[in-house]
């Protein structure tokens, strides 16, 4: 027989935690960025990447300051046979330069070059991608053909050419060359986002309110499209740092007395037999930079991607 709704008055009902009807499945509402942060912090590799990157950046700032001119000051007193000490944890090289401080200075240079190159990449990429994606049609077509052309050029070789012809050893040239050849991926990402966003409701709304194209692009669409660019840029730092190191290794990039992870390797290779560590130190540091940037970039991508993948 059908009965009245709810419980008879006066009855005692034993409540257990799950019985409170209103609290069923209520999770405190979080903003998008809070969710992103939470996902990021739950990802072990991402946190490792962040911490590692922070350590590297901090080292590249602090140690060169502490060391002063130790990174290029040669010495007749110190040499490879010196035992390692607190002030010279990696010893001295054949010119009497303190290896540790030279390494830190090289790290600083590499990170600076990498960062600025990535900024150029992000800048050109966003500009090209947003115009292409927003305009669509013929403009889009032409720009994408252009991207195809740039992509078909042998990238690293082009960098070598640009650097060699425009001035080896010039930091600005290096940054410029790496940036000029690497923007294509960012452009494609931004374009893809723009194509998607063009039809999005909030963009249609802005248009209906009479906002100009430029305002729509800059104020509304670029912020949304930035997420993949940020991820690509973080991963791109690894690439740029390695490219710079390769350039310097092949003597196109920075030359001594400038400190670069690449040219430290060039110098070290002839001494590998006696001093294998001289080769390992810069190499391992390079690997650490790449790992830090990769973990960080992957972590950002997973945190920003609403379609979560399940990790063990």
């Amino acid at each position: 027989m059908a009965r009245s709704e709810g419980l008879p008055a006066g009855s005692t009902v034993r409540l257990s935690p799950a019985d409170d009807f209103d609290e069923v499945d209520l999770v405190p509402v979080q903003t998008f960025w809070q969710l992103v942060r939470r996902r990021f912090l739950q990802n072990r590799m991402a946190v490792i990447g962040l911490v590692l990157m922070a350590i590297l950046i901090a080292s590249s700032i602090v140690f060169p300051i502490i060391g002063g001119d130790a990174w290029f000051k040669t010495s007749l007193v110190h040499g490879p046979k010196d035992p390692i000490s607190l002030t010279a944890p990696m010893g001295y090289d054949n010119l009497g330069i303190n290896i540790f401080f030279r390494l830190m200075k090289a790290l600083q240079t590499s990170l600076i070059i990498g960062t600025f190159a990535v900024l150029i990449i992000a800048g050109i990429g966003t500009a090209v991608g947003s115009i292409s994606g927003y305009a669509g049609g013929l403009v889009d077509n032409l720009m994408m053909r252009f991207v195809d052309i740039v992509l078909s050029l042998p990238g690293f070789f082009l960098v070598i050419m640009l650097v060699a012809f425009m001035g080896s050893g010039n930091v600005f040239v290096i940054i410029f060359a790496i940036g000029l050849t690497g923007w294509t991926t960012a452009a494609r990402l931004v374009r893809a986002e723009f194509l998607r966003l063009r039809e999005a409701d909030f963009v249609q709304a802005a248009k209906a309110l009479g906002a100009s194209d430029r305002r729509i692009i800059v104020r509304h669409m670029i912020p949304s499209a930035m997420a993949p660019v940020v991820v690509a840029s973080t991963l791109g730092i690894a690439d740029s740092v390695v490219t710079e190191a390769a350039l310097s290794f092949l003597t196109f990039g920075l030359r001594p007395p400038e400190a670069s992870l690449g040219n430290m390797l060039t110098g070290a290779q002839d001494y590998f037999y006696r001093q294998p560590l001289w080769v390992y130190y810069p190499g391992i540091l390079l690997i650490l930079v790449v790992l830090a940037a990769s973990f960080l970039g992957d972590g950002l991508r997973d945190a920003l991607d609403p379609r979560q993948r399940i990790e063990a």
Binding site: R145, F146, D148, I149, V150, L151, S152, L153, P154, G155, F156, F157, L158, I160, M161, L162, A164, F165, M166, G167, A238, V242, A245, A246, F249, L250, F252, L265, Q269, F272, Y273, P276, V279, Y280, P282, G283, L286, I287, V290, L291, S294, A312
Partner: protein, 319 residues
């Protein structure tokens, strides 16, 4: 299919033109001129002028471009279609043709080794996801992929060739020898350098692709039909997992070429990459131009092959 290939080839033409223009501009607009290395107090200005006229450097850019461009494509017939090298006066075409086989050998062997190793490793990792083997391999992959090519090459070179003396130090053949075993010995180190990093990257892709496929409904269907694990993987999962890998293969050809440049230089492997690097150092512009063009062409061909392979492998693609 034939129309598809034809269509893609036609689409490649404007790209080719674009590459030509950009390469030409870079080489010719950058500061410095090929004749600069001849300038010295002992060389008279007239000689320099003659040289400029000889190299056609006094003509307007457009004319120079057109002249070079039209001549470039006659290379199957004309030995001098690509001009003379500034460093040793040899026909550029000959220099390049001589080097191409070496680069292809290096690239080809690395690619084969990569495929042979990366695919099984990736599959293993996906099938045994979260196992200690998976985690261990992932660690190696992560570190391996993060290594710079030249550093690894350096270490391998110094360890195996210099210190242990097990393998030859550089070049493709020992002086005077032309036999296969000798060349294979020389091939080992450069290929290992490229392969370690390559395998690290590809097995990650394979693992990811395989994992993606194993989550699909049709895998569950296959199991519900009573197929055993091996059959499910070999027949149903593998073919689907390989599809994205095949596409990616074509798209990584550009980076293969860059990797070639560095590896060949480290090991003095007589290939196109090393020639390119050398000629940039020497400001040997005709050679540089030709190398860039060849590189670009190889990229376009690689992309085309990837697209064709993709259309062949995935029945859902209409062409």
């Amino acid at each position: 299919m034939a129309t598809y290939i034809l269509r893609r080839l036609i689409q490649a033409i404007p790209i080719m033109i674009g590459i030509s223009i950009i390469s030409f501009l870079i080489v010719n607009l950058t500061p410095g001129s090929p004749v600069d290395k001849f300038r010295s107090p002992r060389v008279s200005p007239e000689t320099i002028q003659n040289l400029i006229r000889l190299y056609g450097l006094d003509q307007p850019l457009i004319i120079r471009f057109w002249s070079w461009f039209t001549h470039f494509w006659t290379f199957p017939f004309d030995k001098l279609a690509w001009g003379y090298s500034f460093t040793d006066g040899l026909a550029v075409r000959d220099k390049i043709f001589q080097r191409i086989p070496s680069t292809l050998l290096l690239m080809g062997t690395s690619l084969v080794v990569t495929i042979v190793l990366a695919i099984p490793i990736g599959i293993l990792q996906a099938v045994k996801q979260y196992s200690w083997a998976d985690k261990l391999i992932t660690t190696f992959e992560t570190v391996g992929y993060a290594m710079p090519t030249f550093w690894l090459g350096l270490i391998l070179k110094q360890t195996f060739a210099v210190q242990l003396n097990w393998l030859p130090l550089y070049g493709q053949n020992a002086l005077g020898k032309h036999d296969l075993p000798d060349m294979l010995m020389h091939l080992i180190l450069p290929v290992t350098t490229l392969a370690v990093i390559s395998v690290a990257g590809w097995s990650r892709y394979m693992r990811a692709s395989m994992l993606e496929v194993l989550r699909q409904d049709y895998i569950r269907t296959a199991r519900s039909k009573g197929l055993n694990g091996g059959q499910v993987i070999r027949k149903h999962a593998l073919r689907n997992a390989l599809i994205p890998i095949v596409t990616l293969l074509g798209l990584t050809i550009p980076s293969l070429l860059s990797g070639a440049a560095i590896t060949e230089t480290v090991f003095s492997w007589p290939g196109l990459g090393w020639l390119g690097v050398q000629s940039v150092i020497d400001r040997d512009y005709p050679v540089v131009l030709a190398v860039v063009m060849i590189g670009g062409t190889m990229v376009i061909i690689g992309n085309l092959l990837a697209d064709i392979a993709y259309a062949v492998v995935d029945p859902r693609i209409h062409y």
